[in-house]
Amino acid sequence: MKKAADVEWIGPAATDGAIAAINLDSARCASWKRFRADPCRAGLAELILEQEHLAAQFLGDLDALGRMEIVADELARIDESSGRTALVEAQVASAAHRFADASRHLAHARLRGAPHARVDRQMLSVDQACGRQLNTVLEARRSIAAASGRLEDLVPLGAVLADLHRFDEADDIYRRAIVAYDDVSPFPLAWTCFQLGVLWSEIATDPDPNRATRWYQRAIEYLPRYVKARVHLAEICAVDGRLADAEALLVPALLSGDPEVSWRLADVLVQQKRGDESATHLCTARVRFEELLARHPLAFADHAAEFYAGSGGDHSRALDLARANLANRPTRRAAELASAIASSNDAAKTPCGVPFHAEVVV
C-alpha cells in the first residue's frame, strides 16, 4: 500500500549535490596531500577511507578501491603490527568484498589491542554482507540504532531487515533514518533514498517499480552524479520502454568509468536499433569489467556475472563469476543470481557446492 509520504514527499534540505560532489573531491585530495606528508597522523587514514568510499559509492569512482589499498599498504609498511593498521586493512578488504581477508585482519586487530567496539562493529558489517547469522546481526543493529538514533545506524538496520524479507519494516526504518537526519550533507539522504529504491525494485518479492522510481529520482535530486541511482532508474525506464529517458540518465554517468553505465547504455541503444553505438559501449563495458576484475576480482564478481549472463554474452564466464561471488558471500541474492545464470545456461540444477546460509531463507 502506498503511504501518504510517498505522494507528498519533500525531504530535508541538503547542500546542492553538485557542490557536495566538488567538495568531496576537494576534501579527498586535501586529505591525500596530508597523508603523503604524514601517513601516521591520527584519524587521517580512516578519513581517507571514508572519503574514497563515498567517491566509489556515489560518484562511481571505482578506482577508489585501488587508492584505498594504497592507504592500507602504506600503513602496513610503516607499522605492520598495530591494531589500527589491521582495522584499516580490514576496512579496505571489506570494501573490495574480500570478506575472508577482512575477518582475518579483524582477528589480528583484536589480538593487537584495537578497540573491541570498533572490531565488533566492522565484524558486524562483514557478517551482514556475507549473510551470516542475520538474526544475530539484526539484534545488534537494532541495539546500535536504538542507542544512537542516527541515520548512519538506521540504514544498515533497514538493510538487514530487507535481507530478511521484512520489507515493510525495512521501509519504515529507512524513513525513520531520513526523519532523524540532522545535517546538510546530501550523501546520507541520497543513500537512504537509493536503498528505498533498491528495496522496492530489486529485493521485494512483489516489486513496485513506480515506488522505486520515485525514490531513485529523489536520490538523484539530492546527488545528480549518483551513478548507481542513475543506472537503477535507467533500468526501470528501459523495462518500461522509456528508452530516451534511460539514455538521458546514463549518458552523463559515462564519465565515471563505471562499466555498468556503458553496459546498460549499450542495452538501451540496442533497443533503439543503434547497433554500432551499442557495440562501442558494450566493448568499453567488457574492457572495463575485465580491468576491474583483474584488480578486485571479488568486488565486481556479481555485477560482472550479470553482465556476462546478459549482453556480455559469455555464460561460462558468468557462471564462474556467480559461483565465486556465492562462495565469497553466500547470501540469498548471490544464490539467486548463481541459480538464475545456471538455469539460463541449462547447467546443473545446483549451481555450486556452496549453499547459502540457512538463516537467510527463514
Partner: protein, 502 residues
C-alpha cells in the same frame, strides 16, 4: 584544532564546519574593524560554500560585571549580525563555474559577493567590504595535544574557506556606547518553507574563542578518557545563550578539564577558586575585543586574563590573523602565564597580509615530472620521428586526430586503454627541435604545461620531456604516476627504435 571537525555531526558536511573566528583592527586602516570566520578545515583547492547554510558573525556589546574570582563578562541582548548565504554554482560567460553569495548587513542592507574575488565587494557608501573564498589556513597547531608534545604545524599547507567582513568601526559599532564586544560565528541551515519529512536542524556549528570544543570541553588528555563527548550538544546551543538547564553540565566539564590542563606540567598553578572563575569565563564563549584599545598578535585573551587576575585589561584582546592562539591558550591553562609554552611552530603556513582581504592566498603545489633518454641517433633523425605534434610514435597511442595546424593545433589522442587525451600546441621551434603544449583534457590536472625537446648529446641525442601541473581532484602522487608512466613508456620505446646509449 581551533574548532576544526569539532564533533561527529559536523563531519557530515565539511563546508558547514566552522574552524576559526578573528577580530582585529585593519592593519591598512585603523578606523576599520575586521571580523572573519573560517569553514571547511583542510579544504582542497576547488572547495566552495554550501548553498543551504546561513553563515553568520554575531557581535554583542559586552560589559565587565565581575573581576578576580568573580570575573564575568555580560553580553547585551542587542546583536549586530552579518549573515552570508551562497547560491548554487552558475556558469560565467566563459563557461567557468562561479558561486555568488549575499551578505546581509546590520540594518538590513545587502551586498552581493563573488566567491574567490580577491577584491571583495563594497557597499556604495564604502563602509563595509566583504570577501569570501579559499585562503591559506591562518591557524597553526604545533602540539600533539594528548601528549602535550611539540610537533611541526599540523595544518601546514592546509586551506580553508574564509569570510572576511571589514567595516567602519564608528558607523557600525558605535563605540561611544561601549567599546568592548563579544563575537561569535555560527552555521545554521537556512529554514526551508516546504519540508514535510524530517525536522529543522537548529544549528550545525558555532565558534567563539579558539578550542572551546576540541581542547576544553573535549579535553584529549588521557586523564579525560571515557568522558562523554559533549561537542555536538554544545554546537547546538545558541551563541550568547547557553541553555540554562545545560549550563551546570558544561561548567562542570570545563572545571574538570581545566583542572587536568593545570596539572599537565605536574605543577598546580591554579587555585580552585581561580580555576572556577576561568571555567565560568570560558563558559560564556565569545571572543572578546575592545575597539578602543590596541589589538596585536599577542593581545589574544588578555582581556579575560587580566580580569580574572583582578586587574584592568590593557589591550583590545581579539585575535589577529597571525596570533599564536594555541600557545597563548596552553600557557594560560597549564601554568597561568608563569612560563610561555612555545609549540613546534611559530607561524602558520603563510602569514597574514597587510591589505584586504588580510588572509594569504591558498596553498597550491605545482607538480613537476621530468624524464629523458639518450639515443645513438642524430637529433634531426629523432626529431623527424617525434617532432610532429600529431605524430603517433608513442606506443600508448591507439588513434590520433588533429585539428588545425601550427600554434593552436589540437591533438586528440585515443590511448590503447580507451582513454582520450586532448592537448594544444602552444609553441613550436623545429630549428631547436622543441615544442610546448597544454593539456586540455584526459589527465586529471590543471595548469598542465608540457615541453618536449631533442638536443644533441655527443654523437647522438637526448630527448627531454617534462611537465608541470596541478593535480586536479586526484592525489598528486597518482597524477604524477600517470604522467611519469606516459613519459617513461614513450621514451623507452625510442630506445627500441634507435637503440640505447652507446
Amino acid at each position: 584544532m581551533s574548532d576544526h571537525v569539532d564533533g561527529p555531526r559536523s563531519i557530515g558536511d565539511p563546508s558547514a564546519d566552522l574552524s576559526d573566528l578573528f577580530a582585529f583592527t585593519s592593519p591598512a586602516n585603523s578606523a576599520r574593524t575586521v571580523l572573519a570566520t573560517c569553514v571547511f578545515p583542510s579544504a582542497g583547492e576547488s572547495a566552495i560554500f554550501s548553498n543551504v547554510i546561513d553563515h553568520a558573525i554575531i557581535v554583542r556589546r559586552v560589559s565587565v560585571t565581575g573581576v578576580g574570582n568573580a570575573a564575568k563578562f555580560q553580553a547585551a541582548d542587542d546583536e549586530i549580525r552579518f549573515s552570508l548565504r551562497f547560491d548554487v554554482l552558475k556558469r560565467d560567460p566563459a563557461g567557468k563555474s562561479l558561486q555568488r553569495g549575499t551578505c546581509t548587513l546590520p540594518g538590513g542592507r545587502s551586498l552581493e559577493v563573488v566567491v574567490n574575488d580577491e577584491k571583495g565587494a563594497s557597499t556604495p557608501e564604502g563602509d563595509v567590504r566583504v570577501f569570501a573564498g579559499l585562503r591559506s589556513d591562518p591557524f597553526f597547531l604545533a602540539w600533539i595535544v594528548p601528549e602535550l608534545r611539540k610537533f611541526p604545524n599540523l595544518l601546514q599547507h592546509d586551506n580553508v574557506l574564509i569570510i572576511v567582513i571589514e567595516f567602519d568601526t564608528q558607523k557600525l559599532l558605535e563605540p561611544a556606547k561601549g567599546s568592548l564586544f563579544g563575537v561569535c560565528a555560527e552555521t545554521v541551515p537556512i529554514p526551508q518553507p516546504r519540508s514535510f519529512i524530517g525536522h529543522p536542524v537548529p544549528r550545525i556549528d558555532w565558534v567563539g574563542r579558539p578550542e572551546q570544543t576540541n581542547m576544553r570541553l573535549n579535553n584529549p588528555a588521557p586523564e579525560m578518557a571515557g568522558t562523554d563527548d559533549l561537542r555536538d550538544l554544545w554546537n547546538q546551543q545558541k551563541p550568547f545563550a547557553i541553555s540554562k538547564e545545560l549550563q551546570p553540565l558544561f561548567l562542570q566539564r570545563l572545571k574538570d578539564s581545566l583542572a587536568v590542563w593545570d596539572m599537565r606540567d605536574g605543577k598546580q598553578d591554579w587555585t580552585p577558586e581561580a580555576l572556577a572563575a576561568n571555567a565560568s569565563v570560558f563558559l560564556d564563549d565569545f571572543l572578546l575585543f575592545d575597539v578602543a584599545k590596541s589589538i596585536t598578535d599577542t593581545s589574544h585573551l588578555e582581556i579575560e586574563k587580566s580580569t580574572i587576575n583582578g586587574q584592568p585589561y590593557q589591550t583590545g584582546g581579539g585575535r589577529t590573523v597571525d596570533a599564536n592562539v594555541i600557545d597563548i591558550l596552553i600557557t594560560w591553562l597549564v601554568n597561568r602565564d608563569r612560563e610561555f609554552m612555545q609549540g613546534g611552530a611559530t607561524s602558520a603556513t603563510k602569514p597574514g597580509i597587510k591589505v584586504f582581504p588580510y588572509f594569504a592566498t591558498p596553498n597550491t603545489t605545482l607538480q613537476t615530472v621530468a624524464d629523458s633518454v639518450e639515443l645513438p641517433a642524430t637529433p634531426d633523425k629523432v626529431w623527424a620521428l617525434v617532432g610532429k605534434f600529431g605524430g603517433t610514435w608513442h606506443p600508448l597511442i591507439a588513434k590520433m586526430r588533429t585539428t588545425g595546424s601550427g600554434i593552436g593545433e589540437l591533438r586528440v589522442i585515443e590511448t590503447v586503454d580507451g582513454k582520450e587525451i586532448v592537448e594544444r600546441l602552444d609553441a613550436l621551434d623545429n630549428g631547436k627541435r622543441f615544442y610546448r603544449y597544454t593539456n586540455i583534457a584526459g589527465i586529471p590536472a590543471s595548469n598542465y604545461t608540457g615541453t618536449f625537446k631533442v638536443n644533441p648529446k655527443g654523437a647522438g641525442s637526448v630527448v627531454e620531456w617534462n611537465a608541470q601541473f596541478l593535480a586536479n581532484n586526484q592525489p598528486d602522487l597518482l597524477v604524477r604516476t600517470i604522467v611519469a608512466t606516459l613519459f617513461k613508456t614513450g621514451l623507452e620505446s625510442l630506445k627500441v627504435r634507435f637503440g640505447g646509449p652507446k
